[in-house]
């Protein structure tokens, strides 16, 4: 076991995967010699050579399109899109191609690619370095969508994603790269070295896609969260004193519906939080599933706390970011209903 940041854990996942399987290749903008703008691929080119870890032109459609061709050949590419905000030029390749190749060719060709991208805000990145586009991918049949919340999961989920026989969109909450973040931006930064989930095995292990984790057991209300919002939920539960059960979904597709339903049936209340914009966000899907399956267990309306339906602002970052105060109000309201 070692202490790792989320960046080191992600790097370790690629290292372990490349070591075990000669078909795993890694490329993207700045990921080769330099090791990525967030340093997630640092040292991989030196260790595995330029043919397995290399720089790509600034062309997201090219990066993903080339990865699809490589996957058709038999490789297992793990590519980086520098920010989730830059993925849109690759959207056609992801939606019309990667997601459908297995289906439309009846298995003649498959697409085992992993597309990594830093997601979410909280770093004063403005509208082009802060977005959370997960719902644009969960809506597409044929894709898997993963969002880790800590170094241990990041490594285990990324190895599982690389080994998965289908395309995986791997969203890395960049505000969590160096430590957990609960939305209290005015407090000192906590490093992963002081967090139990910063303990990560050096070697190979996987965290299966489609299994949620209960981060805090509770009986009063269920909070459905993922990524950075797991820590916002923890802070809100602590600050309101409400005995919330906090579920970290870890993967949105496939979704661990059983864990969600068991919790909501137990607590009778459900508040959903995500950083992405509210309208047609993944929270809408979760709310719908919860009411479909738990209607007669519910004591209060299912509530959603999310980013406002505006572009991600710059100066107003903390007015936009759904922090513990906003979630706390929703929790209190859910309890009062």
């Amino acid at each position: 076991m070692a202490r790792m940041t989320m960046i080191e854990a992600i790097r370790s996942a690629m290292d372990v995967s490349m070591e075990r399987d000669g078909d795993v290749v890694v490329f993207g903008e700045d990921v080769g010699y330099f090791g990525g703008v967030f340093r997630c691929t640092q040292g991989l080119q030196q260790k595995y050579g330029k043919t397995r870890c290399f720089d790509a032109p600034i062309s997201e459609s090219g990066i993903v399109g080339a990865a699809i061709g490589m996957a058709a050949y038999g490789l297992k590419p793990c590519v980086e899109v520098q920010f989730a905000d830059y993925v849109y030029p690759a959207y056609d390749q992801i939606v019309s191609e990667a997601a459908r190749i297995r289906y439309r060719s009846a298995g003649e060709f498959t697409c085992p690619i992993t597309v990594r991208m830093p997601t979410g805000g909280g770093i004063f990145g403005g509208q082009t370095h802060s977005q959370s586009p997960e719902a644009l991918f969960t809506h597409v049949s044929g894709l898997k969508v993963v969002v880790p919340s800590n170094p241990y999961d990041a490594k285990g989920l990324l190895i599982a994603s690389i080994e998965d026989p289908d395309p995986v969109i791997f969203l890395e909450p960049k505000r969590l790269y160096n430590g957990p973040f609960d939305g209290h931006h005015d407090r000192p930064i906590q490093p992963w070295s002081k967090h139990e989930l910063g303990e990560v095995p050096d070697g190979h292990f996987t965290v299966p896609l489609g299994k949620a984790a209960i981060r805090r057991a509770g009986s009063a209300v269920t909070i459905l969260s993922y990524g950075t919002m797991v820590y916002v939920a923890q802070a809100a539960a602590e600050e309101t004193g409400i005995d919330a059960e906090i579920i970290d979904l870890r993967s949105l597709v496939p979704l661990d519906l059983d864990t969600i339903l068991a919790s909501v049936k137990k607590t009778g209340r459900c508040v959903i939080i995500h950083e992405a914009t509210l309208t047609s966000g993944f929270g809408a899907e979760l709310a719908s599933l919860v009411q479909e399956h738990c209607f007669f267990h519910l004591e209060a309306p299912v509530a959603r706390v999310a980013g406002w339906d505006t572009p991600y602002p710059h100066a107003q970052e903390w007015d936009y970011f759904p922090g513990p105060a906003r979630l706390g109000r929703a929790l209190v309201e859910a309890m009062g209903a």
Binding site: V25, T51, R52, A56, P57, S59, S61, G62, G65, A66, A67, I68, G69, M70, A72, Y73, G74, L75, P89, D92, Q93, S96, E97, I101, R102, Y103, R104, S105, A106, G107, E108, F109, T110, S141, G142, K144, P165, D166, G210, V253, P254, L255, L257
Partner: protein, 410 residues
């Protein structure tokens, strides 16, 4: 500079429209045999002229002339004719089957048969094509069973794609034919990626990407050219310029460039422009590019100058946007007739034998069609199970799809 007044917006127009007399005076057709054949390791900057001419082998008398001649044996030429005749007969039957309501959609190759049929013969087993919807000659000339193609077109119970894909969007790994998307241009960069993978693994296999004149305007074309150039990928990048993107003439995608082939120059990719209706020229140029790729010399861009003699698809009526006699006036002729005349000129073929072969081929196509129709057509007979609709979205069916299948009651 004189004052030219306010800005003016320019929208290119084709030479002629319905009711006009066809006019191909702007298609400069050089004499066959006059275009040089450089060594395969020629530097792209030294062969720039080949992007502005038309490489031709068959002359007006049906003779094979010049340095690009001689890439095929007599037997191979006869086989090539047979492939083109088969594709044409196949198209005619399937076009009719669509009109009879046996399938929803069809795309024919009329006038473009030489390109995919001849290109396939320049490849080796294991090479991979990333085709568009108008390269079924890759399958016909590759020996893929016609009945399988028809099963796919009919979406019947033997459809290898299990009814999931629009007719003619075939896929076969064994026959080097990547799954056709229907979204235009996406396959071009995928071909480059496949080729990069082959080089990464120190393999000997190469890839071929296919795109039409219209879709070169897609950003994926640019991405493919950049990646192919940067990583010197072992890929042949084919542009089939059939003059028409549904109703839009090629000038809308070409813009101010003289030719589509010339697009290669900015990327340092050797670019050749070839008579797409000349089976011999297509084969010779394809062979040159394939050899370059296999010798680790990198990508080649080839523009095939041809003419889409038929409609874009069964959903299109070209008389609404171009003269009805346009294809007759097309200066590069009919690829099938040109190869036939060549074989006759060589004393290898005759009108009688041609008629006989036509009848034989038609009976083979009809036999395949009967066999396929015994397994069903789109609205009659056997069809893929509705249950199968839920399979193959992922390697393993996730819980939400299992629930939906249950809900569907199938």
């Amino acid at each position: 500079m004189p004052d030219k007044g306010p800005l003016q917006f320019h929208v290119p127009e084709p030479e002629v429209r319905p009711g006009d007399t066809p006019d191909f005076s702007k298609v400069v057709v050089p004499p066959a045999g006059e275009q040089p054949r450089p060594a395969v390791d020629a530097k792209p900057e030294n062969i720039r002229d080949l992007a502005y001419t038309i490489i031709r082998v068959l002359d007006d008398e049906g003779r094979a002339v010049g340095p690009w001649a001689g890439s095929l044996t007599d037997e191979e030429l006869a086989e090539g004719l047979r492939h083109m005749m088969t594709l044409r007969a196949f198209d005619a039957r399937m076009q009719l089957a669509q009109r009879q309501g046996k399938t929803s959609f069809y795309i024919q190759h009329l006038g473009e048969e030489a390109i995919s049929c001849a290109f396939r013969k320049a490849l080796k087993p294991g090479d991979m094509n990333f085709p568009t919807y108008r390269q079924a000659g890759l399958l016909i000339a590759g020996g893929y069973p016609m009945v399988q193609m028809m099963n796919q077109i009919y979406s019947n119970d033997q459809d290898p794609l299990k009814g999931r894909q629009l007719p003619i969007m075939y896929a076969s790994k064994e026959y080097g034919f990547f799954s056709i998307s229907g979204n235009l241009g996406t396959q071009y960069i995928q071909a480059v990626g496949w080729a990069m993978a082959s080089a990464i693994k120190n393999d000997t296999r190469i890839a071929a990407g296919w795109i039409g004149d219209g879709s070169t305007a897609e950003s994926d074309f640019h991405a493919a050219m950049v990646f192919a150039s940067t990583y010197r990928a072992p890929v042949v990048l084919n542009v089939v310029n059939n003059q028409w993107a549904i109703s839009t003439f090629q000038g809308i995608a070409r813009g101010g460039a003289a030719t589509f082939a010339a697009r290669g120059h900015g990327f340092g990719i050797p670019a050749l422009r070839v008579d797409g209706n000349d089976y011999l020229a297509v084969h010779a140029v394809a062979k040159w590019a394939v050899e370059r790729a296999r010798l680790n010399l990198g990508p080649t861009l080839i523009e095939y100058v041809t003419y889409r003699a038929g409609a874009h698809s069964t959903s299109d009526d070209p008389s609404a946007y171009r003269p009805k006699t346009d294809s007759v006036a097309w200066p590069l002729g009919d690829p099938l007739i040109r190869l036939k005349n060549h074989l006759i000129a060589k004393g290898l073929w005759s009108e009688d034998r041609h008629k006989q072969a036509e009848a034989e081929i038609l009976s083979l196509v009809i036999a395949a069609q009967k066999e396929a129709e015994a397994h069903g057509t789109l609205h009659q007979g056997g069809k893929p199970s509705a249950r199968d609709m839920f399979e193959g979205v992922y390697a393993e069916m996730p819980a939400h799809l299992r629930r939906q299948r249950q809900q569907a009651g199938i």
